[in-house]
Every structure is written in C-alpha cells, then in structure tokens.
C-alpha cells in the first residue's frame, strides 16, 4: 500500500513536471542550431520607439518606451510619460543590470525585479539552445534562463520570431508576443504575465 502510494505520488510528480503546456502538441526534433536569436532590437542605428499601454490590476497607465542598442552586448531601455518625464531608465549589458533612474513611486524591489526580468527577456539577443520542437507551422527553441526556461516560437517558413514564453519547470510565467510585417522590426509587442495581473502593450511609432 505504501509502495503504491509512493509510486502514485511519484508518478503525479513526474507527470505534472512534464505537463508544461508550452510544448503541448509539439514533437521534439534534432538540433539544427546551437543558438537562437531575437534580432528585433539588434540594430544600433535604429531608435526603437513604442507607445506603451500598461494594465496592472485593472489600472491603466500610458507612456513611451524607448529601446536603443548602445554597444555590442548593451541596450538602454527608457520609459517616459507622454509628456516626456522619465519613469525609469535601465541599461542591460550582458548579465549586468544598471538602474540609471527610477521615479520614487516605482522604486520598489519587486517592481524593479519584474521590469528587469521582462525587459531583459525582451532585448536579449541570443541564447544557447537546449532542445528543439516542431509543429506543422512552428519551430520552437528551448533555452535556459537561470532556474527557468525560455521558449522561442518561430513561424517556420520565414523564421520570424512570433513569441517568447518564459516558464518555470511546470508553469508559464511571462509571454511576449510579437507581430512584424517586415520581419526586422516588431510592429506590436504584448507582454503578458500569468502569475500577476500585468499586461504591457507596445505599438511602434509610425514613420513620418
């Protein structure tokens, strides 16, 4: 009886740990490349400027998100109000995170950590591939993110990055979805959290 219970518990553990829904309906295939890339913020010549709408616990905020590649492994990420006052100003350089400026109201550890993780995931350009999955229309690359994983979903034909899903071993945490007409710049970006009620929608400024 005890053995049965132990086996049941063990199997529940094993099954739940395999039940990450991110890869449901996908089949694992052989590696075809060692690194996966997100090139949406990779051109140092471009000022990436987006109108941002943030919904947190049913409250709405707006602003402007500005991303610029300022070095081989370095991105500046600045968020301002519509009037131009800075709300935060971060720099990501490899694994180094620098907080240049944060308004007092936002300068709380748990908020900074969420923003840091989200924007690092957004601007990070390449990661080592752990596994590759496929469906009829998509190719999915699994990468390690400290204790967690990231899944990069590409539209199969044009190798266009459609979304990145950040997961723990068992649960999806954050999903970043992209739309891009040209494939080089993301026109819209949607960052959605599953464990907290936070959603960030970004829309690229129209060219004049």
């Amino acid at each position: 009886m005890i053995r049965f219970l132990a086996i049941s518990l063990l199997s529940i553990f094993v099954f739940t740990s395999c039940s990450l829904k991110t890869t449901e309906g996908l089949r694992q295939v052989h590696f075809n490349k060692a690194e996966v890339e997100n090139l949406y913020f990779s051109n140092p010549e471009i000022d990436y400027v987006y109108k941002a709408k943030i919904e947190i616990y049913k409250k709405n905020f707006g602003g402007i998100l500005i991303i610029k590649k300022i070095g081989p492994e370095s991105h500046r990420v600045v968020f301002t109000t519509e009037f131009g006052s800075k709300l935060f100003d971060f720099q990501f350089e490899g694994d180094t995170f620098t907080k240049h400026f944060v308004v007092e109201d936002l300068d709380k550890k748990f908020i900074i950590n969420i923003l840091k993780d989200d924007f690092k995931l957004l601007v990070n350009e390449s990661a080592m591939v752990l596994a590759v999955y496929e469906s009829k229309t998509q190719r999915v690359y699994k990468t390690q993110n400290e204790e967690q994983f990231n899944f990069y979903f590409f539209e199969d034909r044009q190798e266009k990055l459609e979304k990145i899903v950040n997961t723990s071993k068992t649960k999806e945490r954050v999903e970043i979805a992209f739309t891009s007409s040209m494939g080089k710049i993301a026109d819209t970006i949607s960052i959605k959290h599953n464990n907290i009620k936070l959603k960030i929608d970004l829309e690229k400024f129209k060219e004049e």
Partner: protein, 209 residues
C-alpha cells in the same frame, strides 16, 4: 592670424552669436514681468498646436510627438496628442482625465503634492505667469529673438525630477512659445507652440472625457 581665426569663429558660431543671451537688469526684469502678467490677464483662452521633442542623449533623433493644446481661464487645460498616436489629458481641478487611444481613466492628484506641483507648473507655464511661485528661483535673460525665464526648483524632491524649467517668450506679445524641461541627467523635453489663437470662445464640454 588672429583675424583669420576670428572670421572662422564667426562663420562657425555666427548663428549662435546672433541669438546670444544676456541677463536682464533689474528694470528690464520689472518691465518684462509686468508685460507678461498683463498679457496673461488678458488671456481668457488659448488654442495652439504644439510639437514635443524628447531629447535623450543616447538617441540618434529626438522622439517627436505633436498635437493641440487648449486652455480656458482660470485653470482648464487639455493636451491632445494626435501624432503619432491619440492621447489626451485634461487638467481639471484635482483630477486628470486621460483618454489613451480610447481607454479612459481618471487620476486623483489631490493627495500627491509633487504631482500637483508638476501639474500646476504645466498650467502656469502655458500662461507664462509663474514668477510669484515661491518654490523656484527665477532668473531672466534676453536675446534679439526672445525673452527667457529660467526656473530652478528649491524643493529637493522636485529637483530630483527637474533640474530647470525654461520658458521662452515672444518679444512682441509676451506669450510663451517654447517650454523646456531639463532633467538632472541633462536630458530634456522641449515643447514648441505654433498657430496660436487667443480669446476665442471655448465650450466647457471640450474639457470632459
């Protein structure tokens, strides 16, 4: 050699010299203030286009947005951005009424002293009449093109957000035509007004969401 250098210098910096500013003397300050206050008193309403430039040092170009601003005396203001997106804010008593591309929201600013101060700045800077504000040290400059007032916050908390606040005034009618907010990092926001019409009738319904 010296002359040659001077000529070169004038060619390169000529335009800057043209607009060179000098500090106003006491009597100039007094008459300038008087003119601005008189002009602000006469101003019952303002409707104007504006272009906003957000300058960040690391960017190739300033972030440019534009729209319309409507002011009705004594303290109703609407900022409406129309390019490249639709976004409007109405300053009304202790509230901000926001319409972000169709998503409407309301922010109470009654409790936040800092926010109230920042909004008061925006409202007053539209009229230009903020010389009596005890929270700022004001200095005055003039050039052939404009008169300029520079406001430096005394309050440490405000100084954490704004290093200085500059208003440029037309020489003729003493109206504000440019606002510049400089951050402690020296990045700044510049708002340039154009196509201004004064004292037309503006319905109160403009200031509701």
């Amino acid at each position: 050699m010296n002359n040659y250098f001077l000529i070169l210098f004038l060619i390169v910096f000529g335009s800057a010299i043209q607009a060179q500013e000098t500090a106003m003397n006491t009597s100039e300050i007094a008459s300038f203030k008087e003119k601005v206050i008189a002009s602000a008193k006469m101003t019952k309403s303002i409707k104007t286009d504006f272009v906003q430039y957000k300058h960040l040092d690391f960017l190739a170009d300033d972030v440019k947005t534009s729209g319309k601003m409507i002011f009705k005396s004594p303290n109703l203001v609407k900022w409406e951005y129309t390019n490249p997106y639709q976004y409007s804010v109405i300053f009304k008593e202790d509230q901000l009424l926001i319409n972000d591309g169709g998503t409407k929201s309301k922010v109470d600013i009654g409790n936040s002293k800092l926010f109230k101060k920042l909004n008061q700045l925006i409202v007053n800077s539209v009229k230009g009449n903020m010389f009596s504000d005890a929270d700022f040290t004001v200095s005055f400059f003039k050039s052939s093109k404009y008169n300029k007032a520079v406001f430096i916050p005394k309050d440490k908390k405000i100084a954490g957000y704004i290093a200085s606040f500059e208003l440029l005034f037309n020489k003729e009618d003493a109206q504000v035509y440019e606002v510049k907010m400089v951050e402690p990092s020296q990045d700044f926001t510049r708002i340039v007004f154009s196509n201004r019409t004064l004292n037309i009738t503006i319905n109160d319904s403009v200031f509701s969401n």
